[in-house]
Symmetry: C2
Subunit: 382 residues, 2 copies
């Protein structure tokens, strides 16, 4: 094989894998933009379905485009009877991310979309994947408890329906808005591991269910998703506000990693953490919420971290506050990463659409470091 | 985000993504080695389970290691009752690659292996994945026809048992050897798209079922797997030996792609094609085989291609002869790519093991080419 004799860059860090116009990060200033629009503005003024449209199709929808997209998604939230039956046969002890990966693979079998060059098939794949992922996650949560899934309620908004399918009651407007904002804030984040994975799989012209299933698998890895579960665990370990400072000072002295602190690309506070902190306050000042102390502990932790570590560019990231918000909403920890996936699917699909436009199969090389021309030693001589 | 201002190399072609000691290709000389041992020698003297051990663990097993590995695999070929039930709920119209991806994801839920740093868990994941993939593929083939799956027969060899689960009869020794050789020849091939995908997913420390499920998804893409199905279609289109020359000369004149001809890394005949051609002759000279004309057509096509295209480095690749062999064995075309996966799983697992040793999460960057600082235009102004 022709080798270019380049050195391997571990994790391909710093190597650009694609030209992209989906999202942009200014890590110094703490800015995240989707298609050039600041996420703070989108979180305030838009909603997750409009943001999904923006990411996948590259522009804010017109009133008619938005109406159609929303209607198409609303009327594709149901799961096939046989998909539900298949889910009933999965082990209740399984992790919801494994359910999600398996069910998305299986779901694709009902919606052949192998000709990924047909824009009509791509549109309906985008609609079905965004529409059905919340139903799968909510049904998983019910089935794992031995309960029957709650069918989607198409009279509710996308965010409210997700809450309804988990709790069998509607959220109030504050909760509904926060769920929607969480989905917006997780929808894309430039070239992370699962997004890269969806581009690699997509570059073979695999169908979109296969691509999303693989991206879900990538997100299930503990080095990618799941940090917010570990933040909650840490805050519970700390227990009370007065114990936060000694706990964190001790961690810093021992150079331990502090969960939810620091990010590869942000050298200031993650803009998603800024927004989630604001919404966490709204949620905790609200009649439905309890256990406000966890937010107070978190803010004390952040204060100590800023005193001691901001000179090193270490600040709270999105995971630091998302777990707290989920917890306040009553969402069980094992659903945190699946909910990340409900938002991120729009980014995966946007990168897939972009990849197909100038596609070339991802096939990097390797630098061979093994032996050559070894003989086959018979088993009795080994 | 800090950008290194490198240009994007489409598909990362020529960029080394890892140092690897699993397999080596000399594209000029037409040599493929696994752990330094020439595949021609392995095809002749070894068997697929020994080759799998060699790839995954880096050395040929001792007699005791081989005995244990073979026994462990032989006694883990069964599928869980609930996995079989779940498979019954999948649509018969689904592609076997989609079955395989969905079932492997689901299977992982029964064998928690999230702590991928535990070598004992890794060993049993390797055993289970190699052992159960043939059972899934064979059961899929039966279920799609409305037939009950045939349980594995642990008295048979790995290759013979696969044949038995498809046809409910044992293969003769010639067929058994050829099935084994096909698995050996597909077991690894340096850094192809699905292998790269398994490294990307594995780098997040996702569990091995998730990794293999994602790699199967990558292999399902028409730019990666499936070329041998298209070779068979071409040979059938040609129909008779005398039509091969005008058909191919016409293709060459119109600069059409000829299926199964040419390979990114081989500038001579693919060594796997050399071996499969030899075994195809054995198979066709054999009492069980019929329709030898397809081999004669293939060899006539290859002769014309060599006359006209060898100066351009275009020769037969593995897909050119593997479809013919499968066809002669009576294996339906939609199983060709799944059987590729049965062999390649050993390579995916070998690269996963290697990746974990010096792991860093794959997180390349992007070059942003979109707009900045766009305003959010209200819907009535769009």
């Amino acid at each position: 094989m022709e080798e270019r004799h380049m050195n391997v860059v571990p994790g391909l860090a710093g190597i650009p894998a694609a030209e992209s116009a989906v999202s942009f990060i200014d890590g110094e200033k703490g800015i995240l933009e989707y298609r050039g629009i600041n996420i703070s503005v989108l979180a305030e003024k838009s909603d997750f379905l409009e943001v999904s449209y923006l990411l996948v199709f590259g522009h804010l929808p017109t009133a008619e485009e938005y109406r159609k997209f929303k209607e198409d998604i609303t009327f594709h939230t149901r799961l096939k009877l046989k998909i539900l039956r298949m889910m009933e046969d999965l082990p209740e002890s399984g992790h919801p991310m494994d359910y999600l990966q398996a069910v998305v693979s299986a779901m694709g079998m009902y919606y052949p979309a192998r000709n990924t060059l047909d824009p009509e098939l791509r549109y309906w794949s985008v609609v079905r994947l965004i529409a059905k992922l919340p139903t799968i996650v909510a049904a998983t949560n019910r089935l794992r408890r031995g309960d029957a899934p709650i069918p989607p309620n198409n009279d509710l908004s996308f965010a409210a329906n997700f809450y309804y399918m988990i709790f069998e009651k509607e959220p109030d407007p504050v909760m509904e808005k926060i769920i929607d904002v969480i989905l917006i804030l997780h929808a894309d984040h430039t070239m992370n591991a699962s997004t890269f994975s969806s581009r690699v799989v997509g570059s073979t012209l695999a169908d979109p269910y296969t691509i999303v299933s693989s991206a879900i698998g990538t997100l299930s890895g503990p080095l990618h998703g799941g940090a917010n579960e570990r933040v909650i665990k840490m805050l519970k370990d700390i227990g009370t506000v007065d114990k936060a400072r000694p706990y964190i000072e001790d961690k810093i002295a021992r150079k331990d990693k502090i969960m939810g602190i620091g990010h590869r690309v942000y050298k200031t506070k993650d803009p998603r953490a800024v927004l989630l902190q604001k919404y966490a306050h709204q949620l905790f000042s609200h009649e439905h919420s309890k256990n406000v102390e966890i937010l107070e502990i978190a803010e004390e932790v952040e204060k100590v971290v800023e005193e001691k570590l901001s000179s090193k560019g270490l600040y709270a990231n999105v995971d630091f506050y998302s777990g707290i918000v989920f917890q306040a909403l009553g969402i069980p920890p094992e659903l945190f990463t699946p909910i990340f996936a409900l938002g991120r699917v729009s980014g995966w699909l946007a990168h897939w659409e972009e990849q197909l436009r100038t596609n070339r199969i991802y096939r990097p090389t390797q630098n061979y470091i093994g032996k050559r021309e070894q003989s086959y030693v018979p088993v009795d001589k080994r």
